[in-house]
């Protein structure tokens, strides 16, 4: 297998089974709705029926009188809350508006009440008895609505959105060959299998919240602020997350509502979102409309790249789906222009969804590359090689590592790219038209600071702790492997604990960032602390030897010229220490200022399209990823599978549909918002190109959670074009678009 062949440097970690696997398969892993509490009560959120307007009156009498109901809270009787900050504004909230703040309705499904009752059944029933009368205005939910407010997106997390190199428009017009088209991606919903769940427990002014979140510390800070209690009084726990993909990154209003309700009824309150609420109350990926124009010489050298477009935001806040983010970096071109507009719609605030920006952006850019390849009559892989960027054309910095050429080559070989016919619609098998397509994948490596404690116990086992998250990424497994790898001990001796703000600070688990460097750093601290004491203590055989002469290798401390070798436990015993504890904090990697840090990859996809029905089936996928060091081959492969599968769903099925008259989401269920099922998914071959990257971080690893989805939709669309000669620029690629 290619993975093993390229691992002589130990760059691909063992495909170790997940250490928490047995808990998960036995049903013992506790997700956020599953912690017991005495005298628990159940809350249900009630959503607005309209998308724009005001509540004229709200009748809660029926609900209050229903059996088992303890409290009904609306904007009329909501206890005070201190205003919080949005995620983009340095806080945690997904949206700026505080829940039940007033009678204004900005989107359908916005909470208008919360019911607390003795049982879930009572609360659910009573929620239906709440009757609101509205002053309704026509909602604005489509881009080309004349009333929609449109304005340029300026900045996103401190980065300018608009970028220019040379004279793109002039160069485009002067190009021998050019393509200039519009691409559209719909609103998409994350739909992790676990819906959001929160349980709040107050004891005096001490608060414990069990919450499905990718950002424990952020949530704690936000709760402390809004409820006016010190952060040290708030504990947030999340041991396992049942999938997130970005929607559990920010804190959504139900967390505040649950906590507020618990304080109001003076009992623990549990609130679990319904599946329908997952479409209207926890963000979504914004819809986009993108123009991509490429101009090239007759031999395929790109002279101009233009990427402009629009995404939506909420009427009362700003979220930018930065689909132009990767464009300036991706291909060498002397002239470039990227910019984005925002349009305010009566939808909830959009949020981060798996590879935010790159996912819709790479669909457009990589589709356009395929269109250029047809126009200039150069094979799609060759075209990408001709325009390969050796340095980052945007920043001018060298890449810390980039193995994209190897990805293209291995992918082409594995899928059998030479079987592809350049003429669309020329391969057939019975009623099925066959096609091959490819696209590049990319995602930046993100750094956030984090902390980790390390503990060496008297029995020779190690415990690392950091309040990061397990959302399917295999965090505790991979972190144990990283710790064990640095210490030079078997992974069985290492435990990693996460998911609790009582543990050292970890950042939000987003942007494929992890706490691997912190674990690695804590392991080094353990070694340093022991070396230091071995060098200084009279009890040590290495007493008086300068610390730097004490070498740790294979889990043993040695000194050249001395016969003694000491294991970690030997060292503890000799030094008469009961145990050893260290703390470590990562620091911003200065090299990020002089190197461009990205993962790259390539997807190759084979499809068949029924020529009469327009049904599209993906029949094979080969994905080759260059992600630095692969800490665990098994979990990393699964992460890429997951990205590719979500990408296939995006290409062929997924769209959150809004009724243009009412502004309500039409398909608020898993029966009507289609995600890929098992039968939709063909064999997916994943290969890793092992990379040594000394700049990126101490462990040489790049994130892998997001890159897998980038480019997949384009690869599918390009394969559909190759099969049928039809270019679908508006996702999803459904039968009606293919054969009407």
């Amino acid at each position: 297998m290619s993975i093993i062949e390229t691992t002589k440097l130990g760059l691909v970690g063992k495909g170790l089974d997940r250490l928490d696997g047995p808990f998960k398969v036995m049903g013992k892993a506790r997700y956020s709705a599953e912690f017991p509490a005495k005298k628990i009560t159940y809350a249900v959120g009630v959503g607005a029926d309209i998308a724009n307007g005001k509540i004229r009156s709200i009748n809660t009498a029926g609900a209050e009188a229903a059996p088992g109901v303890i409290a009904v809270i609306t904007h009329k009787n909501r206890p005070p809350l201190v205003d919080g900050k949005t995620f983009a504004g340095g806080g945690a909230q997904g949206e700026l508006r505080m829940p039940l703040a007033d009678n204004v309705i900005n989107h359908a499904g916005q909470y208008i009440a919360v019911v607390v009752a003795e049982s879930l059944e009572c609360a659910t029933y009573a929620a239906h008895l709440i009757k609101a009368v509205y002053i309704e205005e026509d909602p604005v939910v489509v881009f080309d609505d004349k009333r929609a407010q449109r304005y340029p997106a300026k900045q996103w997390f401190g980065e300018a959105v608009t970028k220019n190199r040379g004279e793109a428009q002039t160069a485009l017009l002067a190009s021998a060959v050019s393509v200039d088209n519009k691409y559209r991606t719909p609103t998409q919903s994350h739909n992790p299998m676990e819906t959001h769940a929160t349980m709040a427990v107050w004891e005096g002014d001490k608060l414990t919240v069990y919450d499905a979140t990718q950002g424990l510390y952020n949530t704690r800070k936000a709760l402390a602020l809004s409820f006016s209690v010190p952060e040290s009084n708030v504990r947030v726990v999340c041991k396992y997350i049942g999938g997130a993909f970005g929607c559990k990154g920010a804190m959504w209003p139900h967390v505040l509502l649950t906590t507020l309700a618990a304080r109001a009824v003076n009992r623990p309150v549990k609130l679990v979102l319904t599946r329908a609420q997952m479409f209207t109350n926890v963000g979504h990926r914004a819809e986009t409309e993108q123009r991509v124009a490429l101009g090239a010489t007759a031999d395929g050298a790109i002279q101009a790249i233009i990427h402009h477009g629009t995404s939506h935001t909420a009427v009362d806040g700003e979220f930018v789906e930065v689909f132009t983010k990767a464009t300036p970096m991706m291909y060498a071109s002397p002239n470039l222009s990227v910019s984005q507009d925002l349009v305010k719609l009566n939808k909830q605030m959009p949020t981060f969804m798996r590879a935010p920006g790159e996912t819709p952006g790479m669909f457009a850019l990589e589709s356009a590359m395929d269109e250029l390849s047809s126009a200039v009559k150069i094979d799609p892989v060759d075209l990408r090689l001709i325009n390969y960027a050796k340095r980052d054309p945007d920043s001018g910095h060298p890449f810390s590592s980039k193995s994209l050429i190897q990805c293209y080559k291995l992918g082409a070989e594995k899928i059998g790219w030479n079987k592809r016919s350049a003429t669309p619609g020329s391969r057939k098998e019975g009623d099925w038209l066959l096609g091959l397509g490819m696209a590049s994948a990319t995602y930046p490596t993100v750094h956030f600071n984090s902390m980790c404690n390390g503990l060496l116990k008297a029995d020779g086992t190690f415990l690392f702790t950091s309040s990061t998250h397990e959302m399917g990424t295999g965090t505790c497994t991979v972190m144990s492997q990283i710790g064990a790898g640095r210490l030079g001990v078997p992974v069985e001796l290492v435990t990693f604990e996460l998911g609790d703000t009582d543990l050292p600070m970890a950042p939000i688990s987003g942007g494929s960032a992890t706490v691997g460097s912190a674990v690695d750093g804590a392991a080094v601290e353990i070694q340093n602390a022991l070396s230091k004491q071995l060098s200084e203590s009279p009890l040590s055989p290495f007493s008086g030897v300068p610390q730097e002469k004490i070498v740790v290798s294979g889990g043993k401390f040695t000194v050249v010229g001395k016969s003694e070798t000491l294991s970690y436990v030997d060292a503890l015993k000799l030094l008469k220490l009961p145990s050893l504890e260290v703390k470590y904090q990562t620091h911003f990697n200065d090299k990020a200022k002089s190197f461009s840090m990205h993962s790259f990859g390539a997807h190759f996809v084979e499809v068949k399209v029924d020529q009469d029905l327009g049904t599209v089936r993906v029949t094979r996928v080969v994905s080759v990823m260059a992600n630095g060091r692969i800490a665990n081959e098994k979990t990393c492969r699964s992460q890429v599978h997951g990205g590719v599968i979500m990408g296939i769903g995006m290409a062929l099925e997924e769209a959150t549909l809004f009724d243009s008259r009412s502004g309500r989401v039409v398909n608020r269920s898993l029966g009507e918002y289609y995600v890929s099922v098992n039968a939709d998914i063909p064999p997916i071959e994943v290969h890793f190109i092992a990379e040594t990257d000394k700049e990126i971080n101490s462990i040489g690893a790049k994130g892998i959670g997001e890159i897998g989805i980038t480019g997949v939709a384009a690869a599918v669309a390009n394969a559909v074009y190759n099969a049928t000669g039809k270019r679908i620029r508006h996702l999803p690629i459904t039968a009606d678009k293919l054969f009407v």
Binding site: A29, A33, M193, G242, G243, L670
Partner: protein, 163 residues
């Protein structure tokens, strides 16, 4: 009702679904709620060996019946063969759909053994079903996995079908 071999008696609201009865009243949180509408399979449990969506049915309908949940498959710490295969082949990521997938797989293997056909079975009258990958995918498509662990799930079940 008998759950995982133990007699359980709870007094609950007649509107309580079997899933909520297990999760909220019996402390058996292994069965998951993904949609509460019979659209995702996360709540799959076995009733007399057959797979059902426990969110779509009332608990009171199972008085006196035998229900097996994910917690009842292992023998102490000894994992059931399907559970072992899921761990070995990484048939999950977040683990939330997993109890449903595993219960579903246990029943599905039995259905295939009994000769039940699926939508992709070529010969409906055949006494034996060969669990090809296509058959496995079809028969497991009532269990959604948003993490996209399908390749591992198919591998895990294939390893048992071949055994």
């Amino acid at each position: 009702m008998t759950v995982n071999g133990e007699t359980k008696s709870v007094s609950i609201d007649p509107r309580t679904s079997l899933l909520d009865a297990l999760r909220e009243y019996m402390g058996l949180t292994g069965s998951k709620k993904g949609c509460d509408h019979g659209q995702c399979g996360a709540c799959t449990v076995l009733v007399d060996g057959r797979r059902i969506n426990s969110c779509l049915t009332f608990a009171v309908m199972y008085q006196g019946q035998k229900v097996t949940t994910i917690e009842g498959l292992a023998n102490g710490d000894q994992l059931h063969a399907v559970q072992q295969a899921f761990v070995k082949h990484d048939g999950f990521q977040c683990g939330y759909c997993t109890p449903g997938q595993i219960c579903s797989a246990v029943a599905m293997l039995a259905e295939a053994k009994a000769g039940c056909a699926s939508a992709v079975t070529a010969d409906l009258a055949a006494a034996n079903v060969t669990l090809t990958d296509e058959e496995i995918r079809e028969r497991m498509s009532g269990n959604l996995c948003r993490c996209g662990a399908y390749p591992g799930i198919v591998e895990a079940i294939r390893s048992l079908a071949e055994a």
